[in-house]
Amino acid sequence: MSQIDSTGRRGEAPRRNPGDRGESGGREAAPALAALGVSKRFGVVRALDDVTLTVRAGEILALVGENGAGKSTLVRIFEGVYRPDQGALMAAGVQQTLRSPADAHAIGIRVIHQEPDIIPDLSIAENLFLGDFRRIRGVFLDRADLARRTRSLLAEFGLENDLSPWTRAGDLSPAQRQLMEIMRALRRGLKVLALDEPTSSLTEDEAQRLFRVVRRLRDDGVGIIYISHRMREIRDLADRIAVLRDGRLVDERPTHGFPEAQIVQAMVGRPISDLYERGPRRRGEITLSVQGLTTKRVHDVSFDVRSGEVVGLAGLVGAGRSELAEAIFGYDRALAGSVAVDGRPVRLRSPADAIAAGIGFAPEDRRSQALLLLRSVKDNISLAIPDLISRFDFINDGAERRVAGALVDRLRIRTPSLDASVSKLSGGNQQKVVLGRWLARRPKVLILDEPTRGVDVGAKAEIYRLIAELAREGIALLVISSEMPELLGVADRILVMAGGRVVAEMPRDEASEERILSRAMADNLTAAATAQ
C-alpha cells in the first residue's frame, strides 16, 4: 500500500481520482454509505432538505458549509442519533434503518465529534478498549494484552514515546484527547469514519499525523467524511468536496476542479471578495509595552504594540502564547518583568488590574473561559462594565440595554433578543458577544486568543473586518492564532514564540508560513534540547 507524502505541502499535493488508486484500476469504488433524498425537520426549521450524497469506499469526502448548513445533522443521521423524516440510508448495498449509534457501529460507521468524550479517571488503555476488554480465564483483566493493543495504536500516531497506556486520560492535552477519540474508532470492520472538525485543537504536527492516519484508512478502503472549516486542509486531504447550504446540497465536485473561491461562494451563497480587509492604518504611540515578562511557562518576553497596530503571535500549541496573554492580563502570576499601558505600569495581581488599565482579553476557549452559558446575551456583554450601568450597585436596566443593544447592532450579533441565552448563539455570534464585552469598556489594548476558532467563514470575515476597524480606531491589538493564513492576513507584524520565548519578529511583508513555521519548530527543538 502506497504511503502518501505526509508533509502535506500546499498546492502541489497530487490529486488523484478515487478510481485510479490501488488494485481496482479504473473502476469506481463501491458506495460505502449513501443518503438518498434525506430530509429532516426540527419544528419549523428544515435542517436537511432532500440531500442525496454518497461516500465511496476508499475516498475522503469533505463536507463543508457554514454553521447551520446541516453538516452536523447529516452526520448525526449517519450515526443513528437522528432518523430522517424522508429518504433512506444505504450501506453495504442495502437500505439501513439506524435507531441508535450502536446500530451504526454494528455496520461499521463511526463518528468522531469535536468534543472528545472520555472518562478522565480511567487510563488511556481503558478508555480506548472499554467494552472490549479481553479476559484471562474469563475473569481477570488481561492487562498485558490491553497494554499491547494500546501501544500499537499509540505507535500509529507516533505517540508511543510520549504516552504510557496507563496515563490517566484526564491528564491528556485537548489534542491528545482528540487523537485518543480517533484511535477508539479504529476498530476492525470500520467502513465509514466521519470526523467533525478534528483538527480544531490540534497542533500542526499532530494534525499532520492525523492526516497520515486518515489517508492510510482511505487507502485501506474506508470511506471518510471530513468536516472542517479549514480550507487548506480540506484541499490537501479531500478527494471530493460537497457543499451544504441551508440544508441543501448545493455543489459537489472533485477537489482538483473546485477552486477555493468557488467553494466559499457556494458555502455563503455570494462571492466573498476578500476575506481580509486592510485599509490604510496609522500607527501611533506605543500603547502596550511588555518588558522581561516571566512566568512559569513564559521566559523573559519583551515587545511593544503601538496604537492602531495589529501584532500577531504565532507558534505551535504549547509555545506559551496563551500563557503570555494570561500573564499580561494578570490571570497568571508574573514572576518578573513589567507591563505598561500608555507608559503607565500595570500592577499584575489580577485581571481586574489589567482591565482597569484598559486591557481586554478574549480567551481561547469561549465556552469555558469567556461566556456565562446560563446567562443572556445582555448579561454577558455587560459583565465587565458594572460601573457604567449602575448607581449605588443598582442596575440601570435602560442604560444596560442601550449599551448592550448598541453593541449587538454594531457587531451585527444575530440573536433573537438581548435576553436570549448566549448558549443558543452560533460560535461566531458568541465570539462577537465576547468582543462586545470588551468594546463596551473602550479598551486601549485588546488581546484576542484564537478569535475565529469554531467560527464559520462568513463570521470569520466579519471578525477580520472588525479587527481592522478596531485598529483604525487606535486600539492596540495582539492576536494569537494557529491558522497561519489568518495571522498573515490580519497582522501588521508577527512575533513567533517557542518554548515560552519570543524567538523571532517579522513585519508582515517579510513573513511567510514557511518562515514562521521553521522558526517556531527549529526553536522548539533547541528549547527542548536545552531543557534536557
Binding site: 490571570y331 482579553f361 456565562l372 452560533s426
Partner: protein, 337 residues
C-alpha cells in the same frame, strides 16, 4: 442539533418574541417557579379538601408562616450560597450557636437590641470563618462547612455548659410571639429578609456577579471580578442569616439551646433551595424559587399534621412528596424551557 438551533436563532433575529397569555405569564414568573406554584396549589387543594374546616383559617395560615420563618431565612440565604457555586452545611450549627450567644447576651446586657446584634454578629463571624477556610484554604465548601458544623456546635455546648439558657426579657420574647397589625413579628422578619435578598439578586450588580461566579468562576475572574471577596462575603451573609434565624428561634422558645437547629435544618434549607430551582453546580436559581420551596415544605408539614398522619409516616410522605414535586417541576421545565 446545535447547528439547527443556531439557524433558527438567526432567522428570527429581527422579530420580537411574542407569546400567548399563559405563555407570557409563565415567562414572567419563570418556568420553574410556575411549576412550583402549580405544585403548591395542588398541595393546598389536597389538604384544603381533606380539612376544609381548619386549613384555610387565618390562624392556620399564620401558623404555617411562623413555622417556616426560620427555614425561610436559611433557605433563601442558602439559595444565594448555592447560586454562587458553594454550599453551607454549617447553618444549623450556626443557628444553635447564635441562640446560646443571644441568651447569654440578654442575661448580661438586658438589652434585646444589643443581644440581637450580638447574635447576628456571631453568625456573621462564623460565616466569615467559613468563607476564609474555603477561599484562603482552598478547601471544598462541603468539607469545610461539615468541619465547621462540628466546631460551631461544639463551641455552643462549651459556652453554655451544655445547658439550655432561659430568656425572660419580655421585649425580646415579643419577637417570638408578638404581632404587629395582626401579623406575627417572625413573619415580618422573614418578609423583610426575603425582600432584601430578592432585590440584591435581581436588581444589583452584586447579585448579577454572584450568578456569574457561580456560573463559571474562571469567566468571572477574567471579567475582572474578585471571586474570593464575593465568596467570603456570601458565606458571611449566610452566617448572618443563620444568626438572625437563631434570634427568631431563641425568641420563640424563650431560651438559648446549644442543640437547637440540629434536627436537619441545614438539609431542609438545601432541599428547599434545590426544590426552588437551584442547580448544585451553581449559577442558577432564584430567591422566589427558594421561598416557594420553603412554602411547599411548610404546607406539607402543616397538612400532614392536620390530616393526622402519624409522625413516622409524615417523614416518609414528606420525602416522597418532595421527590414527586421535583420530578413534576423538572418535567414542566422541560416542556416550556
Amino acid at each position: 442539533m446545535t447547528d439547527v438551533k443556531m439557524e433558527n436563532v438567526a432567522n428570527v433575529a429581527d422579530r420580537p418574541v411574542r407569546r400567548s397569555g399563559l405563555g407570557s405569564l409563565i415567562e414572567r414568573v419563570g418556568t420553574h417557579n410556575f411549576s412550583l406554584l402549580i405544585a403548591l396549589a395542588a398541595l393546598i387543594a389536597i389538604f384544603g379538601s381533606l380539612r376544609p374546616d381548619v386549613f384555610f383559617l387565618l390562624r392556620n395560615i399564620l401558623n404555617i408562616g411562623q413555622a417556616i420563618a426560620i427555614l425561610g431565612i436559611l433557605a433563601t440565604a442558602q439559595t444565594i450560597v448555592i447560586i454562587s457555586g458553594g454550599l453551607d452545611i454549617s447553618v444549623g450549627a450556626m443557628v444553635g450557636l447564635s441562640t446560646v450567644c443571644i441568651a447569654l447576651a440578654v442575661g448580661w446586657t438586658n438589652s434585646p437590641a444589643l443581644s440581637i446584634l450580638f447574635g447576628v454578629a456571631v453568625g456573621a463571624i462564623a460565616g466569615l470563618v467559613n468563607g476564609l477556610i474555603i477561599t484562603v484554604g482552598r478547601i471544598n465548601a462541603v468539607i469545610a462547612t461539615l468541619g465547621t458544623m462540628a466546631v460551631f456546635r461544639g463551641v455552643a455546648f462549651i459556652i453554655s455548659n451544655g445547658q439550655s439558657i432561659s430568656i425572660f426579657d419580655p421585649a425580646f420574647r415579643f419577637i417570638g410571639d408578638g404581632k404587629i397589625l395582626g401579623v406575627p413579628v417572625t413573619i415580618l422578619v422573614l418578609v423583610i429578609v426575603v425582600v432584601i435578598f430578592l432585590v440584591l439578586m435581581r436588581y444589583t450588580i452584586t447579585g448579577r456577579n454572584i450568578y456569574a461566579i457561580g456560573g463559571n468562576p474562571v469567566v468571572a475572574r477574567l471579567a475582572g471580578l474578585n471571586v474570593r471577596a464575593y465568596q467570603i462575603g456570601i458565606y458571611t451573609l449566610s452566617g448572618a442569616a443563620a444568626g438572625l434565624g437563631g434570634m427568631l428561634l431563641a425568641a420563640r422558645t424563650g431560651s438559648g439551646q446549644p442543640i437547637s437547629g440540629s434536627e436537619g435544618l441545614e438539609l431542609e434549607a438545601i432541599t428547599a433551595a434545590v426544590l426552588g430551582g437551584c442547580a448544585l453546580t451553581g449559577g442558577k436559581g432564584t430567591i422566589i424559587g427558594g421561598l416557594l420551596g420553603v412554602l411547599i415544605i411548610g404546607v406539607l408539614d402543616n397538612g400532614l399534621i392536620l390530616t393526622s398522619v402519624p409522625t413516622f409516616f409524615q417523614m416518609v410522605a414528606k420525602g416522597v412528596l418532595l421527590i414527586a414535586a421535583v420530578i413534576i417541576a423538572e418535567q414542566q421545565a422541560r416542556r416550556y424551557g
